[in-house]
Amino acid sequence: MKPLAGCRVLDLGIITAGAATAAVLADFGAEVIKVESPSYRDPFRRWLSNRPDDAVEDLPPFFRATNRGKAGLSVDLKHPRGREVFLRLVARSDIVVENFRRGVLAKLQLDYATLRATNPNLILASISSQGESGPEARYVSYGSTLEAVGGLAWTTGYAGGAPTVSGVDLNYPDQVVALFASAMIVTAWRARQQGKGGAHLDLSQRELTGYLSGEAFVAAGAGLDVRPSGNAQAPHFLQDCFRTADGKWLAMTVEPAQRATLAALLGIDTIGEWVALRPLEEAQRVLNANGIAAAAALNGRQVLEREGQVWKDALQRLPDGTLVKGFAMQFEREPMTVARDAPVVGADTVEVLQRVAGLSTREIDDLAAEGVIEIAARKRC
């Protein structure tokens, strides 16, 4: 199924939040053109550090993972002719996705008013740290910043311990926003299809992080004490991870109705003692046999090994075997597939400028000679 067939997206998104949002739109069948510049690359093209040793190529795994399914265009938006080219594309597109720092689009004279004047039906999705407005609109953040300022860190942590963030290796808010932002864009696309025109979607990641803790606001607002409770969580009688005899961690959830079952199983031992006496596999088997949810707390490598057993669609393989982001949802009859690998810089510049912007070969050559656009020497298929 291609719900967004016929829809063209200009993707100014970078790193995860913006780029992964546009990738979901590509999965839904939209034509997504990733727009970079001769003077500005998506930082995911060189994420680990600025050390020369880390600059192995412009298609590192993180970049490929979040930019598969897209075409690649490189045009200098700071250059008057580059800006003119971009606006020609805007006139022939449906959606623009961006997650620059606030103020960057305005500085490029590409704010919503300008884009709308070019294309009144355009949907501009602005994904930002704090939103378009407010005294902290220019606050710079990464996902874990938002966990702190959005209220999630306050409810995450060991009982009596410090507030905790998911950290650089998960960076949770930057992952989850792609699900929300893409869903709002598709909602706006539906409205546009009904003749309701374009829209500017102001998507604040900080607000999303708070919304995902909605019940904590309800409780706190009513005067209840809201604090980290470790792994314990209502309505469960017991929920935690315990170390097994073979040094692994077993996660379990025991329901109130299972108290007697658990007591009979443990005898005089505490649950921690009982688990510590058994290897993980045995403890899990016995608990599961007694109707208690229990599973190993796996690391990334172990999760990867369970492809096809625990998960199926979340990661996909490119033709060369490289793993990239897959799908958080799947259509039953006509499943989504990853249409193509991520583009090298400027991979599709010529094709996009000819087909979409309607430029002649001569005009394209002039732009390239002036350094306004980049044309890739090689193109990865």
Binding site: M1, P3, N50, R51, G131, P135, Y139, S144, A148, V149, W154, T155, Y158, G167, Y172, Q175, V176, L179, F180, S182, A183, V186, T187, H200, L201, D202, S204, E207, L208, G210, Y211, S213, E215, F217, A219, G221, A222, L224, N231, A234, H236, C241, A251, M252, T253, A293, A295, N299, G300, V303, G308, V310, W311, D313, A314, G326, A328, M329, Q330, F331
Partner: protein, 346 residues
């Protein structure tokens, strides 16, 4: 603030079988919550087996905080059992359900978009899992907390709600397709796939390199550190390092070895100690202002109650007191042409 209701022409049903696990029901309810906020008419069919949702602690005015958040604005119908009558599904555009109910009753509403949530999808029929143990299987627990202590969950119901986001997103996409003449088809969402999708970096990383990440506690590059009146999230990218070093002002951070991010990662606990020592004399508000001035991604850890009076939230009217219970509730986190999406009475 004026509100917009882009889904006011859409009718949504939220339903689940008697055996539906809580994690899946939370995902379905969250998907319905989003549709409600966008103006859809959402009816939640609740069998007696599902009455527990409104009894979960903590409770506010005889309702659970969860129920007050998830069910706001919905029509909640108590039904005798989960065998949903065809009359309930008549005219539904979107149905959020679990797998058993979908398989039993899809014929009653063949023209609707079914968005179907499960624990594992089709890869296994083993459903004896909770949201917590599913997070364990997706590697989401292993990444959070201290390596000397138990793996730790994120607060709230992050996996279930993320699955709810996927269920809503898939449903609205399929609805678009239906409206341009494509045959309606079901959308499948597995909590396990959603968890791995969120955790893609650590799961895919071993296939790209020898690196396999795990929680690092006090040695984590990004973590919380104490300040005068609470905690600050110490978050710093490669480009932010010079500004952080300048803000902290401790000569130890100017050692040449710390120009290299790999070295900083190796000595993250040492660096955090230095930062914590420097931040100890400043409040969260002072550090927020300093971060704003230097464009640093440090994050003051605010409590949900503190956030009610936060200047940013107030200006954007993100948190609202809602009558008649005077509840504090977040609006849908999108402004649509400058307007909130949500209930008309806001």
């Amino acid at each position: 603030m004026k509100s917009v209701r882009p889904l006011q022409d859409v009718r949504v049903i939220e339903c689940a079988s008697d055996s539906c696990p809580l994690a899946v029901r939370l995902a379905l309810a969250f998907a319905g919550r989003i549709a409600t906020d966008l103006g859809a008419k959402v009816t939640a069919l609740r069998a007696p087996a599902h009455a527990d949702l409104d009894r979960i602690e903590p409770r506010v005015a005889e309702h659970s905080a969860l129920g007050l958040f998830l069910d706001a604005g919905k029509q909640c119908l108590q039904i005798a059992d989960s065998r949903v009558a065809s009359s309930h599904l008549d005219g539904a555009d979107v149905i959020f359900s679990d797998v058993p109910l979908y398989e039993a009753q899809v014929r009653m509403a063949p023209g609707a978009v079914w968005s179907v949530v499960s624990a594992f999808g089709k890869v296994t029929d083993h459903t004896l899992q909770s949201e917590f143990t599913l997070m364990a299987l997706c590697g989401l627990l292993d990444l959070v907390g201290d390596p000397l202590e138990a793996p730790l969950r994120l607060g709230g119901h992050q996996l279930a709600y993320a699955a709810g986001l996927a269920a809503y997103g898939g449903a609205i996409a399929a609805l678009c397709a239906r409206e341009v003449g494509q045959t309606p088809e079901a959308v499948r969402i597995s909590l396990a796939d959603v968890g791995v999708w969120l955790n893609w970096k650590s799961v895919a990383m071993p296939s790209w390199s020898d690196r396999c990440v795990s929680r690092q506690g006090s040695a984590a590059e990004w973590r919380t550190v104490r300040c005068a009146d609470g905690w600050i999230a110490l978050v710093c990218s490669e480009a932010d390092w010079p500004a952080l070093r300048e803000l902290v002002g401790d000569p130890r951070l100017s050692e040449p070895r710390f120009e290299d991010r790999a070295e900083r990662r190796k000595h993250a606990a040492y660096i955090a100690e230095i930062v914590q020592s420097a931040f100890g004399g400043y409040s969260r508000a002072q550090l927020r202002d300093a971060a704003l001035a230097r464009r640093l991604p440090l994050g003051a850890v605010w409590s949900p109650l503190e956030l009610e009076n936060d200047p940013q939230n107030r200006q954007r009217e993100f948190l609202q007191r809602v009558v008649p219970l005077n509840l504090l509730r977040p609006r849908l986190p999108v402004l649509w042409g400058g307007h909130a999406a949500g209930e008309a009475d806001r």
